[in-house]
Each structure stands twice: as C-alpha cells, then as structure tokens.
Amino acid sequence: MKGLLLKDYYTITKQIRIYLLILVIFAFLPGFPAFLLALVYSSMLPITVIAYDEYSKWNRMAEMMPYSETELVLSKYVLGYIAVVLIWILSIVVQTVLELIAGIKGDSLTDPQYITLICVALGFEAVILPLMFKLGVEKGRIILIALAGGVTFCASFFGGKLSSIKALEADPAGVMIISTAAAIVMNVLSVLLSVHLYKSVKK
C-alpha cells in the first residue's frame, strides 16, 4: 500500500503546499478556527485524489499491479487518516510556537473537545468515501454538498437544543469516548461497504 500512498502524495503535492500555507496564515488570525478548517480540508483530500485517479484512469493500471481491491480502497481511507492526524500534530506545533514567540495562548488541542472534532472529521470521511466509490467524484460531490447543506440547516435550527451539544459542554470526556467508538465503527463499516461498492462498479 506504500506505493499507492506515495502515488497519492505525488498527485496532490501542489494541493498539500497550498493547504499548509492556508493553515499557517489562519493560525496567525486570532479567533479563527483554523483547526476546524484544516480538519475539513484534510478529510476532503481523499476525494481530490480519487478525482485525479478518475481523470487519469489510474485504477485500470493499478488493478494490474500486485494490489488487492481492498488495498486500493483502504489506501484512500489511510490517506485521510494520515492527513487528519498530521494536521492535528501540525496545529499543536503551530500553537506551541505562537505561544512561545508571541505569547498567544489558545485552547489545548489535546482537550476532549478537539479529539471529538477529529472523530467527527473521521466520521465524515466514513460517510463520503463510499459515495465517491459508488457514484464517482462528480456525482458524489453533488450529494456531498446536499448533505452538508442539510446538516448546516439542521444545526442552525436545532443546534443549541441538541442533547449531544449540551452533553459535549457538560461531559466532554464522555462524548469523546463515545465519538471515538462511533468513528471506529463507522470507518470499519465504511471500508467494508466501499470495497463491496468498488468491486460491484468495477465488475
């Protein structure tokens, strides 16, 4: 799978540079939730790679190589996980540097609320990737936008009343444990579903 990840890295090198630049710029803007933005961007990186793969028809070639369908699918998930974890580590580094140099102190990114956010990003990835494998990036993105719009709409109406939001404020550690478990279960199921969808589309 290392070869697949390396190929993905070369494919999106340009995007990663822009991504890091945006992250650093926003990290210097006080009050801006750079971490959230970075997480969303990170979980979208696999979609960008799938779009490039579709354009170049890379999978036709990859299927001739010593890779299983599971590896071809799983590599996209792993790329997303790496991006999310890297951005978390990078955000902690940027925050520490800012604190040391400029004395700007923000929330600790190891707090349960932030771990919960990471789990939400991973859950988001678990939802969108099967869509991309089934529908392709063009159609998948339309569904994704519709989903995002629906979630935003619901959040703006019911956000304050949701028990989970209240629970997050009251018991952040408990919510973190539940969201971690949910993210793991969602991703395991999502990988299995994506492999099945990939095989059914391919055959």
Binding site: G3, L6, K7, T11, D53, Y55, N59, R60, M61, M64
Partner: protein, 281 residues
C-alpha cells in the same frame, strides 16, 4: 508449464458476449491476439488479469488460478502495458520509480533508469508533457523493470510511429530470449504480430475463431485465384472465405482439402483473418 491457459471463458456486457475463449500460451512463447475493434481482445486480457469478473470458465497463469489468493503475489511476475499509460499526469519518471519501488518487491531501479535513458525519456518532465510515444515507452520501461516472466500487452504499440514500434518490438524480442519468458500481445497491426509471434489467436465478434501456431497456419491455409468457372470445381468445404469480382474469385482455402495439383499463394496472417472475418463464404 503453460504461461496462460483459459478454458471456456465467457463474459457478457450488455449486448456484447465473449464466448468460450480457450487459449494456451506455452512458456517461452509469444502469442498475438488479433481482432477488430470491440472483438473482445481487451476484455479477454482483463479477464486473464482478473480485472473484471468472468461469468464462467477458468483462467490459470503460470499454473495459478487467477481467482486464488496466490494470484496477487504472482502479479509480481507479470508486466502489463495497456492501450494507454494511465499514470497520473503530475508524476515524472523519477516519481514513477519511487512508486514502483514500493509496489514491486523485485523492482530493479538500475534497469528502469537504463530503459529511461535508452528511450531518451526526460527524468524530470511531467507525464502530461510527454508525447504518446514517450508515455508508452515509460509504461513499457515500468512493465519490464520488475523482472516479469510474463508480459501482457494490450494494444501497447497502437498509435505509435513505425520507428518507435520497431524499437519496442525489438525489446519484446530481447525479452523472450530468456526461455522462461512469455508474451501475450494484442494488436491491430497484424504485420507486427506476424513478425514476432509464435502463436496467433483470432477473436471475432466475441468468439475465438482460431488459436494456433503461426507456422501451422501458414501450412494449413493458402490462397487461390481463378476464374469463376474454375472455382466451381473447388471443393466448397475447403473454402474458408472468398472475394469475388465479375470474372475472378480469390479465396482462402484449407490446403489439405484441396486436390493435389492445386497451386497456392502464401496466405499471411492478415489475409487469413480478413477472409475468415468475411461473411460471404
């Protein structure tokens, strides 16, 4: 041991049906797969590589069922070049080396860069800026650089100019100097196949018309040219296909079914498949 063996291979795609494909490519030989566009050559290659699900039949590569778990490992020994080189556009030859090095256990970096230099491919130029010939050369360099025992080439020389084609065919010839190496090559360019192949398989409308040794085909078939009157004397079961003008008939015939005193012209592979593909027998 046979490099490739397929038995009763079938696949249906909508209206198209690939039916009962039986191929045997002995180790150390080159087999040419010929047929018109949409005949089923690429589908056959995908089925051989298990890149699409077969409806029925069996495929064995170097003695391994292509649906078994071992087949993934066996792919280390198979170099494949498709009709296009499907590398992502932003990669260059150096990036391709890094990706392949992490993909194939037997990757030979030195050999790969030897091919890159031999093909005069710029190392840092991005794939999207390569010409079609350069792209195919890169794909061929990658396919040859992990010590494959079997090369599978799907229209790999299509669209290339004759000079590049000749150069690439010479490389395939070099490859088969090792007796354990085999090649399955599909192409529209029958003259290329005639030059390098030991076996020829002809697929027409999803059916395997023949799969035989090239020299045996030359022995088996001949071309006769004669007047329409004289043609009436020819045993009709010997006639494989014919082209008739107002006065003359040109026909591909089975030599063994013709009278002993008959004169034949040599039938090349192109003539054989053209006559066989013609409907008006």
């Amino acid at each position: 041991m046979n490099a490739i063996e397929t038995r009763g291979l079938c696949k249906t795609y909508g209206d198209f049906r690939l039916e009962n494909i039986n191929l045997v490519l002995p180790s150390g030989c080159i087999m040419g797969l010929v047929g018109e566009n949409g005949a089923g050559k690429s589908t056959t290659i995908k089925l051989i590589m298990n890149a699409v699900e077969r409806d029925s039949g069996e495929v064995s590569i170097m003695g391994t069922d292509n649906k078994s778990r071992e087949f993934k490992k066996l792919k280390e020994n198979i170099g494949v070049v498709l009709d296009e080189a499907y590398f992502p556009e932003v990669l260059n030859a150096v990036n391709v080396n890094a990706v392949m090095k992490s993909t194939y256990k037997n990757w030979n970096e030195e050999q790969y860069f030897n091919y890159i230099d031999r093909f005069s491919l710029p190392r840092q130029k991005r794939f999207k800026d390569y010409s079609r010939g350069m792209k195919m050369k890169l794909a061929i360099a990658a396919a040859l650089s992990h010590s494959p025992k079997l090369l599978i080439l799907d229209e790999a020389t299509g669209g290339l100019d004759p000079m590049i084609r000749d150069e690439i065919l010479e490389i395939f010839n070099e490859f088969t100097r090792d007796e354990s190496h085999s090649v399955l090559i599909s192409s529209h360019i029958v003259s290329d196949l005639e030059k390098i192949c030991d076996y020829i398989a002809f697929i027409h409308n999803g059916n395997l018309i023949f799969s035989d040794e090239k020299d045996r085909l030359f022995q088996k078939y001949g071309i006769i040219r004669m007047s329409k009157e004289n043609f009436k004397e020819v045993p009709q079961d010997a006639v494989i296909g014919k082209k008739a003008s107002e006065y003359f008939v040109e026909a591909l015939v089975r030599k063994d079914l013709m009278p002993g005193n008959c004169n034949f012209e040599r039938a090349g592979i192109e003539e054989i498949i053209l006559f066989m593909a013609k409907e008006d027998r």
